[in-house]
Amino acid sequence: MSKSNFSRRGVLKTGAIAGAGLALPTYLRADAHTGFTNAPGDSEVILGFNVPQTGPYADEGLDELRAYQLAVEHLNGGGDGGMLNTFSSKELDGTGILGREVKYVTGDTQTKSDAARASARSMIEKDGAIMITGGSSSGVAVAVQALCQEAGVIFMAGLTHSNDTTGKDKRANGFRHFFNSYMSGAALAPVLAANYGTDRKAYHLTADYNWGYTTEEAVKSSTEALGWETVSAVKTPLTQTDFSSYIAPVLNSGADVLVLNHYGGNMVNSLTNAVQFGLRDAEVNGKNFEIIVPLYSRLMAKGAGANVKGIFGSTNWHWSLQDEGSKAFVQSFGTKYGFPPSQAAHTTYVQTLLYADAVTRAGSFNPCAVAEALEGFEFDGLGNGKTLYRADDHQCFKDVLVVKGKENPENEFDLLEIVEVTPVDQVTYEPDHPQFAGGSLGTCNPGA
């Protein structure tokens, strides 16, 4: 009997496999005293893909899962290698991670913190997962990140856009590739000023939760800095499905821009309602009334249909990008699944590669070694240009895309067009920026 905090299933597999006589160099062999949770065996390493598979974000979760499967295939040397060929770090060679074949387990977050944590715990305790990744909302990301910190495994966040994930709630074991509310605001504001002028009055409708607040704050402060005025900011319940009573007063409020700080189903419905109420055709203060959606995803654009046409927003990545990395990814994803990947798929694919690369560079699966390898890591070739994983808050800094709903889409995936690629310098902020204040990374926790 041995005492441990978390499952040692990975270790046990080592024993079983070593017994089966698989020959591997001895220095690679993990033993029971590696000093971190779920040290992998000699032949395989298990990653936990924790995505929403039921509930409103299920489709987004499934797209993430496709990207994960593709990443695993590429890491194990299958397929055309995708972004492995364009990645600036050349450590990964298609032989898995540190010579171990990559295996994975999947779970359903249901986009609920409780369920997401239960599912992550089962991956750690039962399946011996060494890294957890995924998720489609900031609440879930924050909850699972905290869990991974406690358990001593690395968390590579999926789609999470709230400032808090790498702000107030940041954790030493958690890493985010996705951009955040602040960056959206900083990237959007100049484009909005250029297109709609600097003399605008904005009306915010904000989903009543964490991500909503940080997005409202970010868009407000960056547009106000360019001369806009905020007329009103109204909170809408997260569980709201019909936004008519919040949309109806907008036209008569004196505002000439409506900012919808909504995501997912909230955004689909509020935008549909806003267009229904004729806001797009209205004229206020002698100007055309405009609508803005700070964070776009392709699935949301698909759900809102023709209503997104001409509406500005920002996005982390888009498949129409023409850099080598993006082209390689779109090529291998499109060949395998028959349609282009979403931004959620891109970010989860990249996160998996970045994790694998960090392990390889560190030469160890120990979360603390991996974290050290990721901190301050600069890379290129994974889309979005030159990227930095900042050590201070574990946030990636890279170019941000400002997009617009396409007027004449050619197919059901061609819904957004890139208006501007905002260079990374313009969206970079100090680690102690007020919108990110109040948290500390702490120190990394290797678990056992």
Partner: protein, 404 residues
């Protein structure tokens, strides 16, 4: 013994045996094997089995005995969780004060809500409890009171966790960077002993046994309540309240007592949930969570002693095990079949597992209620009837692990 009849004592002993031996019973398959997917003997799920068991046992005291169908019991579980986390934040990471406060706070809330809601019966009562619970959910989810007081009480959508910077007046300062963990006088809830036995692995988790002990006590209390004069009175309310009032008895104090007891059970479950996993979120108060405990109780067999526990285990098993089966695993299982047949079988099964686990759950609900009107317990009895000579314990085992 313990003031129980022989039959009840036997049932209690069976429950004790099941709780103690769960790490073995739930991990019947060797780790490397294909069927290891069905193993449920890891700490998180075992803890959930017993904690939701407690929740369902408590709910059954109200619903099973009096017939009053509350559709808002998750709210009491929620306030219990929040109370416990606040105890972790302010007082100590020791679970005892946290669980104690969880039970007390849930009791106060259920007294207030029960007092009002019990002025109506039938569906009107159900909707009143539902309305209160939904209001509490909205207040917690948007942290309305917290916003009003310009502070944070429930943490809104993100939920509430203990942080390094919390005061915790009884505890030593946590070293910076490490998250505080819940424990009992120095033993952490997540501490486990792992025993390797050949290819088998059995995990004995402290938190699980702690929660298991509390569940056994809760179960014992529920047997005593069922068999007491008070329990008889509650049954009388269910069968004919009008006749009862003609005999000069006021039913309300009895139903209110049952309501508060079951609310405190819910608070206990809520406190234990955060003791095992120190995060409280508002989703556990949503009406679907209240509906879940109703379903657990009916599925297992309302009004029976063991039924709700079985129902709770059944639903949690689906949520955590079936949802994790993906197409890769299916292909692994059926790899021995010829390719075309393998793909066909996988294509047939795939919609029912992984992302389709809800579908299977819905079908199971329908099948159970159609073919086993008394819930899983009746299924167990039928099963026992087939092997009458065998001990009833086997029947119970069969009922806990039907999916295996």
């Amino acid at each position: 013994m313990f003031g129980l009849e022989k039959k009840d004592l036997r049932l209690l002993l069976i429950v004790v045996a099941l709780v103690v031996l769960a790490p073995f019973i739930l991990n019947p398959f060797p780790v490397g094997s294909d069927l290891a997917q069905f193993n449920a003997g890891y700490p998180d799920l075992m803890q959930r089995f017993v904690i939701f068991g407690i929740f369902a046992i408590g709910f059954n005291i109200l619903f099973g005995l009096t017939g009053y169908l509350s559709f808002g019991h998750a709210a009491f579980l929620g306030v219990g969780s929040y109370a416990a986390v606040w105890m972790f934040k302010l007082l100590s990471m020791n679970v005892l004060p946290a669980i104690f406060l969880a039970v007390v706070i849930a009791g106060i809330f259920s007294l207030a809500i029960g007092y009002i809601a019990l002025r109506r019966s039938g569906i009107y009562f159900s909707i009143l409890t539902l309305a209160f619970a939904q209001m509490m959910f909205a207040i917690a989810y948007s942290d309305l009171i917290g916003n009003f007081l310009r502070t944070s009480i429930t943490g809104g959508e993100t939920g509430l966790q203990p942080k390094v910077s919390d005061p915790r007046i009884l505890d030593a300062v946590v070293s910076s960077g490490q998250t505080p963990t819940a424990g009992l006088f120095g033993v952490e809830m997540r501490d486990s002993y792992v025993w390797n036995l050949g290819d088998w692995v059995f995990t004995f988790n402290f938190g699980y046994y702690f929660a298991g002990l509390i569940m056994v006590i809760s179960f014992y209390l529920s047997i005593r309540i069922f068999r007491s004069p008070f329990g008889m009175m509650l049954r009388a309310i269910k069968s004919n309240q009008t006749r009862m009032s003609y005999t000069g008895l006021n039913a309300k104090p009895y139903t209110l007592a049952a309501f508060v007891i079951s609310g405190m059970y819910a608070g206990l479950a809520g406190g234990l949930l955060v003791a095992m996993d120190t995060q409280a979120g508002a989703e556990r108060m949503f009406w679907t969570a209240s509906g879940e405990v109703v379903l657990m109780t009916i599925l297992g067999g309302a009004g029976t002693l063991i039924g709700p526990v079985l129902g709770a285990g059944f639903i949690k098993y689906f949520e955590n095990i079936i949802s994790k089966i993906n197409s890769t695993i299916l292909h692994q299982w059926f790899a021995w079949l010829p390719d075309g047949l393998e793909d066909f079988i996988v294509a047939v099964i795939y919609p029912f597992v992984g992302k389709g686990w809800h579908l299977t759950l819905g079908l199971v609900f329908m099948l159970v209620v159609i073919f086993l009107p008394g819930g899983l317990v009746q299924g167990g009895q039928k099963f026992a009837g087939l092997f009458r000579r065998k001990k009833s314990k086997d029947a119970k085992d069969g009922a806990t692990t039907p999916a295996e």
